[in-house]
């Protein structure tokens, strides 16, 4: 199938619902496999850090969740662009599906970072480059969420949140840059995130597996949500009726 026909077919909710199934299952299986391997590896087999000891194991969930939190927001920005340029309804479904997942992942990154900070930095919270940009990310998510809550009309809800997601995505690099810049100026030297001096493979491999696993998991959940939302929106069509039995 050419890229162009794929694009056109994406406009059809029914086609999407069908094609999403195998992908969802694939992501689900990959997530189950990678996460179970990754968890055991991270918790049991990976060596403790020579400075932080076993507190370092938080790394294996902290970094993947932080990465995913950012990826999902950018994904929403792209979906917003698609909604505006091609008026594809599925894009709004994607935004709606990504929102809660991204929000919880950001919260997880913040929480795991805080829990990691207590034994390593000696404090639950420190204003530092990455903490600030993650916090801002959370606020960006909450902003879209609050806006969606406030708008009743589904069509307009989609448009408004798409616009906001685009504006936010344009701003993300600026925010990240400014915050990093600020951090180099203000941050007491003791609080810099560990600059890993060439982490050994037995430490970064499990992180890689966990990250891939979490990405698969997120893919699974988002597709599942999108399917549910498509059903909700297409509730009156005959194919949905047939499918529901």
């Amino acid at each position: 199938m050419g890229l162009k026909t794929f694009w056109h077919k994406l406009g059809s909710p029914r086609w999407f619902y069908g094609i999403a199934n195998p992908w969802r299952v694939g992501f689900g299986l990959a997530a189950a496999l990678l996460l179970s391997v990754g968890l055991v590896w991270a918790l049991v087999y990976a060596p403790p850090d020579y400075q932080q000891g076993n507190a370092f194991r938080i790394f294996y969930i902290h970094v993947p969740s932080a990465m995913i939190a950012q990826s999902i927001y950018i994904g929403m920005g792209v979906a917003g662009l698609v909604l505006f340029v091609w008026r594809m309804k599925l894009a709004d479904v994607a935004i709606a599906a990504c929102l809660p997942v991204g929000m919880t992942m950001t919260a997880l990154a913040l929480f795991s970072g805080g829990v990691w900070g207590k034994p390593t930095w000696g404090t639950w919270w420190e204003w530092d480059g990455r903490t600030v940009s993650t916090l801002v990310l959370l606020f960006l998510y909450i902003g879209i969420y609050a806006l969606r809550q406030a708008i009743m009309d589904p069509e307009l809800r989609g448009k408004a949140s798409a616009l906001l997601a685009i504006v936010g995505t344009i701003n993300i690099p600026i925010i990240k840059y400014s915050v990093d810049w600020w951090a180099t100026l203000h941050q007491p030297a003791t609080f810099t995130l560990t600059e890993k001096p060439a982490m050994p493979p037995e430490m970064y491999l499990p992180a890689l597996v966990m990250a891939l696993g979490l990405y698969s998991f997120v893919g699974y959940v988002i597709l599942q949500r999108m399917q549910g939302l498509v059903l909700e929106r297409e509730a009156r069509t005959s194919w949905v009726r047939e499918l529901a039995g």
Partner: protein, 195 residues
């Protein structure tokens, strides 16, 4: 001569629901269309659609440049009628001279309030200022939503005459109303609610 307004299977929607059966209509220059329908049948929504601010609809339509008057007057309460008229002209990139504004306000009987804040005018007086705005707009199509609201007998007569004149000079008016417009030559467009 192409028509000023053409609707081809136009159906307005609110919250994803169709409001009325598809409309097909061609309106020639110089016509008055009286838009009738029960409360909630979608008259206001149709006018907003034709004006381009409501974008949830099926079907197609074309329309010449138009002036819209909804339930909200589109006049700034903190400015005077004179200033409002001047700003309305500026929006259309035209300059309004004092004489023109004065004559328009005079025609609709509110010239003595020309310098008062809109907020301090009575409901009918505000409507009359709005009429002055239409009069000065120089736009071919007028979309009016219940324009007879709040006008006294004199004001209604002024409005009727304005409408007759506008159509006589080749203008088109679509007028949503619950009160029959006292003009003979008109097209009726009735909206029937979809259950």
């Amino acid at each position: 001569m192409p028509e000023a307004i053409a609707l081809r299977g136009l159906v307005c929607q609110r919250a994803g629901r169709d409001l009325f059966a598809p409309l097909d209509l061609r309106v020639e220059a110089g016509s008055l269309v009286e838009l009738r329908g029960a409360n909630g049948s979608g008259k206001s929504t149709l006018l907003r659609t034709l004006n381009g601010v409501h974008q949830q609809y099926r079907g197609q339509f074309t329309i010449d440049p138009c002036l819209f008057q909804g339930h909200r007057l589109g006049l700034d309460e903190l400015l005077s009628p004179l200033e409002n008229l001047r700003f309305a002209a500026a929006l259309h990139d035209r300059q309004l001279d004092e004489d023109g504004a004065f004559a328009a306000l005079e025609r609709f009987g509110v010239v003595r309030y020309g310098l008062t804040r809109m907020a301090d005018l009575s409901a009918g007086q505000q409507r009359r200022v709005a009429m002055a705005r239409w009069y000065l707009a120089a736009l071919p199509v007028w979309l009016l939503d219940e324009p007879f609201t709040a006008l006294d007998a004199d004001g209604q007569a002024l409005l009727t005459q304005l409408m007759v004149e506008h159509c006589a000079t080749g203008g088109v008016i679509v007028c949503a109303t619950h009160m029959p417009v006292p003009i003979e030559a008109k097209t009726l467009l009735s909206l029937a609610m979809v259950a």
